[in-house]
Symmetry: C2
């Protein structure tokens, strides 16, 4: 497994573009297009928010056949809570894109991200799609990654090369995140491409597995958005075809890596984040118990503000653990910051304050919670809660 350049267009036969079409008042890029020269298998996962945006409804439908050819996405407007008009606009986005690319509109995946409740400016979107089609390029990943940004401070792209059956295939992706990041498809978009040939049912299975320990294991603020999706296209342009378990395992390993790296980028660029925190809950009675506890700790504002304040306030961590709705024996809990034990058998112990301060001041840290109740474990990536988070979200207006 080797990192390579090229993001979502690293895999053969994929082209991308990102253009400004005028949705964002800043004039920044806000329309992204991703196209495969050949037919693709597709797997996709969508937000579990009950208030699903129009593009979610349309794309769920369009990916159900297991075939797709292109993804069109705009930023600056979520096309959510926009009623029948919104649904019609999302369908129109697919139709315009299909017409421009000479592809069946049912094979177009549609995505939107941005402000909720404002109708899409369809004239701008339409001319943006035309410009994006004209700009499609095998070097277009970065532009596409920029065009899906909202409050993200950086574009997020990655690609790897893997060996399958002795031959090389590529896998790449772009993503956006920032705020409203919570498990089960938080406010995030991720578009992934591979030139390996993989049938839809396997593709779907691989994607579900990869997402569980990546995009479903991150939280910035516990808020899950109306527009999230992860889409994986496979076009077979490398001539490499997945056949048999070991091929699938090789691809799965690459996909897991790719999704985890993109998920980490999203958390690190979380709104106002000053720290990246990996929360490990180990030796739990079950994986679901471990994940519940990790998430409750990760989403506790009191824990998050303590990390922002670089305070070894383990009492708040204990309180959050007790709050997860899981039966625990608190006299068995150990807590470690990095490798330094802070709590043993549910009680604070003497620790090296210099070591702990160094850990707390670092941009990345690991928090280990050992329940000593079994063999299961879970891992969640999250951020602290800063003044900047409040500032960004108090003033990100319609």
């Amino acid at each position: 497994l080797q990192d390579i350049k090229g993001g979502v267009t690293a895999a053969k036969g994929f082209q991308a573009a990102g253009v400004p079409c005028g949705i964002k008042q800043s004039g920044k890029k806000d329309l992204a297009l991703l196209w495969s020269e050949r037919p693709c298998s597709v797997a996709a996962l969508f937000t579990s928010n009950r208030v699903a945006a129009a593009p979610i409804v349309v794309s769920r439908n369009h990916t159900s056949s297991g075939k797709a050819r292109a993804i069109v996405a705009n930023s600056g407007n979520a096309n959510a809570c926009t009623g029948k008009q919104g649904l019609s606009d999302a369908i129109t986005m697919a139709q315009i894109t299909g017409k421009e690319l000479a592809v069946d509109p049912h094979e177009i995946v549609v995505a939107s991200t941005g402000i909720i409740g404002v109708p899409l400016p369809m004239q701008k979107v339409g001319s943006g799609i035309g410009a994006a089609v004209a700009a499609l390029s095998v070097n277009g990943s970065r532009d596409a990654a920029e065009a899906i940004r909202t409050t993200d401070t950086t574009q997020k792209e990655i690609a790897v090369e893997m060996t399958i059956g002795g031959r090389l295939a590529s896998l790449g992706g772009i993503a956006k995140g920032a705020g409203m990041i919570a498990p089960n498809m938080a406010t995030m978009l991720a578009f992934l491409t591979t030139d390996a040939e993989i049938e839809p049912s396997i593709l779907k299975q691989c994607l579900a597995e990869a997402v569980e320990s990546s995009f479903n294991a991150i939280t910035v603020d516990g808020d899950m958005s109306t527009n999230d999706m992860v889409v994986l296209l496979s076009n077979g342009a490398s001539g490499v075809r997945l056949s048999g378990t070991s091929d699938t395992e090789a691809f799965q390993e690459a996909l897991n890596y790719l999704c985890r790296e993109l998920a980490k980028m999203i958390v690190k660029d979380g709104e106002g984040a000053t720290k990246f925190i990996e929360i490990q809950v180990n030796k739990a009675g079950s994986e679901s118990a471990a994940k519940k506890i990790a998430l409750t700790v990760a989403n506790s504002n009191l824990v998050k503000t303590a990390f922002f304040g670089e305070d070894a306030n383990w009492g708040r961590i204990m309180a959050a653990i007790g709050n997860a709705g899981v039966v625990i024996d608190n006299d068995r809990i150990d807590i470690l910051f990095g490798e330094e034990k802070i709590v043993e058998s549910g009680q604070g112990i003497v620790f090296c304050i210099d070591t702990v301060n160094e850990i707390l001041k670092a941009p990345e840290m690991t928090l280990q919670i050992n329940l000593n109740a079994g063999d299961a474990r879970a891992k969640i990536w999250t951020t602290d809660l800063s003044y900047e988070y409040v500032k960004i979200n108090a003033h990100y207006r319609t």
Copy 2:
């Protein structure tokens, strides 16, 4: 039902005191004592946090008989995550208090609030109890209310006079709150007293009902603490005895009012709160669905920061509704700020921006969410999320 002065000592036969014993470095009052001259019935509710503090364990035991005589509480130290020593210290607090008051120690309720994980300085606590016993007074409510404060900016006390069977009885209380406020007994203490004579089983039932729509209907940050309790003492000193349904109803009405008012005081004094927000979820399919949605909206950092920013960002409210894990038909949802409708049938509508800005700038506002799916409803009181919340919690150190 008439508001009267006197807080937790308004009811006849109760005395209280609050003294500084040196737990708080500031030298402020940190030990509260509440005593009934006569035997009492007692009802109590405790935190559902699985990491229960030592005083919770002891007081759950001490109130199980339905009889109590006094409450001793310290602030500045939670006596939580303190292991066997903590448990022994909480028992010792009851023993010292019992001895000083010549009361069976099993009839002493023990409470603590403050920093987690630090052993109680028992010498200070012991001498504080002695000083508090000496200071007991029928005018001691305010001192006791002060002595249970942590980050509260004001003391919280209230009392009412009610008519039961044509005769007057009193009911009063004190409380502390501030942060870590979430339903099911958040970080809060509330001590309530009445001079009506009520048997333990009725008292318990009345308390449970009153708490459900007051202390269990508030949230500041979704974090529930290790130390919360609500204790209600009834000593019969007024000579008024509850007999029959109409008496119970009259008492219930007074108790509901008292608990609601104390709960509101706690939310209004929430850490960093600049606004008091009443979230009503109406026309829901079930009360539990309505409460889940109200809580999810109340605990959404994106919604809270939008209110802090005085931004009519209803999209975040819709997203939070969709996040509550409740099946909803989002095309039926109406949202109102005060009496001004913002969202109709799931979509934004034209509204008077001046009216809405006035509502958003006021210190108190009502958010109505009408699901149009049934007859059930729920109400939650909460606050916004401000810079000050982050500041307080990033810097409230051990």
